[in-house]
């Protein structure tokens, strides 16, 4: 039994260890000052920040409605929101081109407005938001569902309005679930590759995010590709630790013990 656990763990960790074992840490760090790396890092952070802001701003009220209102087709809506979660990124890329591309469903409308999204930074943001938002929304739905409706009712009876109840009662109770969902969403968005390379393509400083730069550098300079991979391992690891801390903080009222709590 322990042997199996050791094999599984070794299998999962070996590629990550290999990234750091191949080249000395000093050399890896030295690679990080290259323009191709700094450009990609800045672009990744910028597009992620915009995408995640959109995800939280739109996703939070959407998740609240899905969690608290009963309307026909609600379960279907919850399933549909999660669909991009299981969609292969290449399919997302094709879908985004078919929808927002110049010859796509909305292409004519966007063209008339003088907007073209394909091959631009906006395309990166759309791709990242598309693949990462379900991670936030499904977790947010679960977090809102776990809020005791009696507390909400009490707040309303005591005279607090809907908005005040939401911001002072519901949000604080759901915040750890929301934070966990956002951490997952951010991690998934930061790693986004397939949909981005198809829909936004790869231009240094404009659309070339870290994963795309890793792919690009693989053909040119393996050491630089390793260095960027190491950087993303560190960032992802930090996110994971932050996530665990968020979830275990204040053990009095866990909103969602597991990352993938079923959203009923």
């Amino acid at each position: 039994m322990f042997a199996a656990a050791a094999i599984a763990l070794g299998f999962l960790l070996l590629p990550i260890v290999a990234i750091f074992a191949r080249v000395s840490p000093g050399k890896l760090v030295a690679q990080l000052s290259q323009p191709v790396v700094t450009d990609a890092l800045v672009l990744s952070l910028k597009t992620s920040a915009i995408a995640q802001a959109l995800v939280v701003l739109v996703g939070t009220p959407a998740a609240y409605v899905l969690a608290t209102r009963r309307f026909p087709g609600r379960s279907l809506a919850v399933v549909l929101v999660e669909l991009p979660l299981v969609l292969p990124p290449a399919v997302a890329g094709i879908g985004l081109i078919a929808a927002f591309g110049r010859l796509g469903l909305l292409g004519g409308t966007l063209d008339a407005l003088g907007v073209q999204v394909g091959l631009t930074q906006a395309a990166v943001v759309i791709a990242v938001a598309y693949v990462s938002s379900p991670f936030y929304v499904r977790q947010a739905v679960a977090a809102f569902e776990a809020v005791d409706p009696n507390l909400v009712a009490a707040s309303r009876t005591l005279g607090a309005g809907r908005a005040r109840t939401f911001f002072r009662v519901v949000l604080p109770l759901a915040r750890r679930g929301l934070a966990a969902g956002e951490a997952l969403s951010f991690a998934r968005g930061l790693g986004e590759f397939g949909a981005t390379i198809m829909f936004a393509s790869s231009l240094q400083g404009v659309t070339q995010t870290l994963p795309l730069a890793i792919y690009h550098e693989f053909a040119l300079d393996f050491t630089t590709a390793l260095a960027m991979s190491a950087l993303l391992v560190v960032v992802s690891g930090a996110l994971l630790v932050a996530l665990r801390i968020t979830l275990q903080w204040q053990p009095s009222k866990p909103t969602s013990r597991f990352l993938f709590a079923p959203s009923r």
Binding site: M1, A4, A5, L119, S201, A219
Partner: protein, 248 residues
């Protein structure tokens, strides 16, 4: 918890078994060679050898994969420099030049943006794509533009693609207004794109070279495969696809 560990171990075990099975079945039968080939050869190579297993992509990406030890038997590159680099590192046999190509600019069918000629690509507001430097077609594109005195277009490109097929796709999808590809890539999509010819004096020498990968377990078969590219039937198929005779 125990169940999860079991499941993980099971998955690992299954993967190991399937890898082992794949290994044995491969060793017994006549070799189906794994060919790493330039993206521009996507249509023609399976016509020459339908039994090959192909991985098409930017030649520089494929060369990097061979350097990292991916199990290719043959490398067919859209330039001569990459196979020669690998040859000097002792990774592949002496490269054999087997065909040639030329560059064209592709634009939307019927030229809705009234570009007219390659020089018309200087028009402001056009969205031009090309392959990245290091990708053979990207290097050729830079050479052509330098000879035409239009190197400023390189900085204006809205995308630097990883292989020639990606460049073509951006134009056929309408995402870009123009892109630089090989004449053979444009041929099968003649109904979707229009061509802007590039004058002979500006054309780079586009030579394709192939070599057998020395680490191949089927080295003899791989060498024979490379030589077969020079045979009459193979050359006829290359010519039919629009590839050019090797210049002397």
């Amino acid at each position: 918890m125990k169940l999860r560990v079991l499941a993980a171990a099971g998955a690992v075990g299954l993967a190991a078994v399937s890898v082992a099975l794949a290994g044995t079945s491969q060793a017994r039968k006549a070799p189906h060679l794994t060919v790493f080939a330039a993206a521009s050869l996507t249509n023609v190579l399976p016509q020459i050898d339908p039994h090959g297993r192909y991985s098409f992509g930017g030649s520089n990406m494929l060369a990097a994969q061979i350097e990292q030890g991916l199990p290719a038997d043959v490398f067919a590159s859209a330039n001569t420099s990459l196979p020669w680099q690998l040859h000097r590192k002792g990774l592949v046999t002496r490269p054999v030049v087997f065909t040639s190509n030329r560059l064209v600019a592709v634009i939307a069918h019927g030229d809705p943006k009234h570009i007219g000629s390659v020089q018309g690509l200087e028009k402001p507001g056009l969205r031009i794509v090309m392959a990245a430097a290091g990708v053979p077609v990207g290097d050729y594109t830079r050479k052509v533009l330098a000879r035409l005195g239009m190197s400023d277009l390189v900085g204006k490109a809205v995308s630097q693609e990883t292989d020639v097929r990606e460049v073509l796709a951006k134009v056929t999808l309408g995402e870009a207004d123009a892109g630089f590809v090989y004449a053979t890539d444009a041929k099968p999509v003649a109904g979707k794109v229009s061509l802007l010819g590039i004058q002979k004096s500006a054309q780079p020498q586009v030579l394709y070279a192939a070599a057998a990968v020395k680490a191949s377990t089927h080295l003899q078969a791989a060498k024979a495969w490379v030589n077969k590219l020079l045979s009459k039937p193979a050359q006829t198929k290359l010519r039919a696809a629009g590839f050019l005779r090797i210049p002397h």
